[in-house]
């Protein structure tokens, strides 16, 4: 039976100064990619100065270039369909920070959720979809930013497969020819949470509320840090460089307390197919392996995630816990949504917590956010729209 682990609040901010030994570990895919580019085999979407890149260290000590400007949003179906506050918060911050980007209709899903859930695709299909979307960013002269962790993981894998297999490249080139596109590969595959991570101190400057009383538990996304792990950000100032730093980084930068719990490494129970068709497994996993430890061990006020599926799974499955005596509840939101809350974004119009199942109101009250006022305003706004009013958009399509 789990017991409170109160003394582990300091763990996340622990630092360490070990040395990575250069030249060991897995071969660096980036060098091979550049070789292919030199041979004219592929085109590479480079991160240019105009992308205002910042650097972060990955698991084995490589420097990863994270572009922060001139980005092409590769949205996530789960986020847009289910947790709209998720992409909206990203755009909200981009506007706040005065960064350039494009969000458009010419983008498909990465199709990897379907693949990992059902197996109804193949590497050629996955890689072609990936390249199509990459090429769209390329032709606009922008760098793609991926919102979903599964997209991120899948695209990392597709990049590696494309770099390593000529046959696959040829297949994909053939398909690209048919749709009038080319084989392009981005220099780095970048997840929005990495963008948040490298800009976390900039973001923290926008902070409106004091979070020092808020205890946060972080749920890292498997497809972020477990798939192609060498590409993930680890920071020696965060968890002593032992756990992926994104999400924890922004929570710390915002001044919240990050508590450890015993099932940090566990997945959320999404299981791709399971969340839709076998929720028996998903909900058991959520309650037993994630929510209960988060509440019992860490007394957590909020669970912070970095991915679509995790947010949905952890949020939606708490209510049914009552059926089997799981009384623990904790609001769930992504790191960027939490940051937006802290920086004064509207609870309803921007962060859109109204779509969430678990009760997030006590958290708002703890932070000092007047959610009732927001709710009133939102209701009035809806009436306005119903009467034929126009949406106040964060962004308009480029003409």
């Amino acid at each position: 039976m789990a017991v409170e682990i109160k003394n582990r609040l300091d763990l996340a901010a622990k630092s360490s100064d070990y040395m990575h030994i250069a030249g060991r570990k897995i071969e660096n895919i980036h060098e091979e990619l550049l070789e292919l580019e030199a041979k004219g085999e592929v085109k590479v979407i480079h991160i240019k100065d105009e992308n205002k890149p910042l650097y972060a260290e990955t698991l084995f000590g490589w420097k990863k270039k994270i572009p922060t400007n001139k980005l092409w949003h590769h949205k996530s179906c789960g986020q847009c369909g289910n947790i709209p506050g998720y992409p909206v918060s990203v755009l909200w911050f981009m506007n706040k920070l005065g960064l350039e980007y494009i969000d458009e209709r010419n983008q498909t899903s990465c199709t990897a959720w379907n693949y990992h859930g059902s197996g109804t695709s193949n590497p050629v299909g996955l890689a072609a979809v990936a390249v199509r979307n990459w090429h769209r960013a390329y032709e606009l002269g922008l760098f793609p930013l991926f919102h979903c962790a599964t997209t991120f993981g899948d695209y990392k894998e597709m990049r590696n497969l494309l770099v390593e297999n000529k046959e696959l490249r040829d297949e994909v080139k053939k398909i690209m020819n048919k749709i009038g596109r080319e084989l392009v590969i981005p220099e780095e595959i970048v997840h929005y949470s990495e963008w948040v991570h490298v800009l976390r101190f900039e973001i923290a400057k926008l902070k409106k509320y004091d979070l020092s009383d808020v205890i946060v538990t972080v749920h890292p996304a498997c497809h972020c840090y477990k798939m192609i792990p060498e590409d993930c950000i680890y920071d020696k100032e965060i968890y002593a460089g032992k756990r992926t730093a994104v999400s924890t980084g922004i929570a710390l930068a915002l001044g919240a307390k990050v508590a450890d719990y015993s099932t940090w490494y566990d997945c959320c129970g999404f299981g791709f197919r399971h969340i839709l068709t076998e929720r028996e497994a998903s909900r058991s996993f959520v309650m037993d392996r994630k929510i209960r430890p988060m509440v019992r061990e860490a007394n957590s006020d909020v669970c912070i995630t970095q991915d679509t599926g995790c947010t949905t799974t952890l949020d939606k499955n708490q209510w049914i816990g009552k059926a089997m005596g799981y009384t623990e509840q904790v609001p769930v939101m992504s790191d960027v949504m939490f940051a937006a809350l802290a920086c004064g974004a509207d609870v309803f119009k921007i962060v859109q917590l109204q779509w969430h199942t678990t009760d997030w109101r006590p958290l708002c009250e703890k932070i000092g956010i007047d959610w009732k006022k927001s709710e009133e305003e939102y209701k009035a706004y809806l009436e306005e729209l119903r009467a034929g009013g126009k949406t106040v958009n964060l962004y308009e399509y480029p003409s």
Binding site: Y18, G241, D260, S262, Y265
Partner: protein, 348 residues
């Protein structure tokens, strides 16, 4: 005029080689990067050596005393070889020490630059440096050498301890595919010492294969039969926070085919041995071959394990691969004899 022989590295192998050569009347120059000699056993304060659990001081202290008292041996502390040139069958070597730089001609050279302990901090799954109570083999050796058997986090005796084998060995993630040979034996030795100090403590060893080869097996049997050390088959996959200030080791018990998540007061990582940065450095400076594991490569691993691929340069000890102190000493002797023969032949 006596032969001049250079020994690089003042660990067990280098010291023994130097002592043997000095006995033969050779003039030995011993270059040591640290301010002391005795190598890793001295540096990390090893307490007892297997298999007979004699105090490390008896062995290492004896080697140091001999070297320091022999006037045929000149020891360069805190020094390094900065320049190395072949001069016919001889070698012109520049040694940089705090006292200055000097260039000498040597008839032959023995490389005994030893190994480095694998740093478990570079393998994230073990949470080393994240949890105070997760320590490694050399930390524990040092603690025990100082008479401290308590938990680093709170100074209290641990109720149970997990020892995790194959940390940094047999793992492609960290780039080390080889078996480090001695960690199993050191671990069972440490388990015995822990149990002797705290008989009530529970000690568990998580293993994939236990490789206490040869007579070292005696220690393994002793640990089980006399000290009730429990072995559990399964490598640990994760270490996380546990209740009451413990850390939880998670893994699969491959014999029961089920998951375990056990809280421990202290976890000891049996980190392996690596060639360290000094091996490629030697390879570059001396122009000798490096193997795919990051150690120096013997000319013929079976016939002449103590020879480098270059005539006149000999290898001894853990610079050619993980080995026990006794093997390092044996190789020191063998390298000394071969270096002496080479020097004698080509003295004119």
């Amino acid at each position: 005029m006596p032969e001049n022989i250079l020994v690089i590295g003042g660990g067990p192998a280098g010291l023994h080689a130097a002592n043997e050569l000095a006995e033969l009347g050779v003039s030995v120059s011993l270059v040591e990067r640290d301010a002391f000699i005795g190598g890793n056993p001295k540096k990390f304060k090893y307490k007892f050596l297997f298999p007979d659990l004699q105090p490390a001081e008896n062995v290492i202290g004896e080697l140091i005393k001999k070297a320091e008292s022999n006037k045929n041996i000149r020891i360069y502390y805190s020094s390094e070889v900065t320049d190395f040139k072949e001069n016919g069958k001889k070698f012109d070597v520049t040694i940089k020490s705090p006292k200055g730089t000097e260039t000498k001609t040597f008839n032959s050279v023995i490389v005994a630059t030893g190994f480095e302990h694998f740093d478990p901090a570079t393998d994230s799954k073990y949470s080393y440096q994240l949890f105070d109570d997760v320590i490694d083999i050399k930390d524990l050796e040092k603690m025990m050498g100082e008479g401290n058997f308590n938990r680093p986090s709170n100074g209290k005796p641990p109720r149970n301890v997990a020892i995790i084998l194959c940390v940094g060995s047999r793992d492609r993630h960290v780039g080390n595919q080889y078996c480090s040979r001695v960690c199993c034996t050191v671990s069972v030795k440490q388990a015995i010492e822990l149990k002797e100090h705290f008989p009530e403590m529970e000690v568990y060893i998580f293993y994939m294969d236990i490789r206490t080869y040869g007579f070292y097996e005696d220690l393994y049997w002793k640990a089980m039969e006399e000290h009730d050390v429990q072995i559990v088959k399964g490598r640990v996959a994760e270490i996380t926070s546990g209740p009451d200030n413990t850390v939880i080791c998670k893994g699969e018990d491959t014999l029961l085919r089920g998951p375990f998540e056990i809280p421990f007061d202290m976890v000891v990582l049996a980190s392996g041995m690596e060639g360290g940065p000094q091996s490629p450095e030697m390879s570059k400076k001396l122009g000798i071959e490096l193997d795919e594991h990051g150690f120096l490569k013997p000319a013929n691993i079976t016939l002449s394990p103590f020879k480098s691929n270059k005539d006149g340069i000999f290898l001894a000890g853990a610079c050619t691969g993980p080995k026990a102190i006794v093997d390092a000493i044996v190789e020191g002797g063998a390298a000394a004899m071969n270096a002496y023969i080479y020097a004698k032949k080509n003295a004119q």
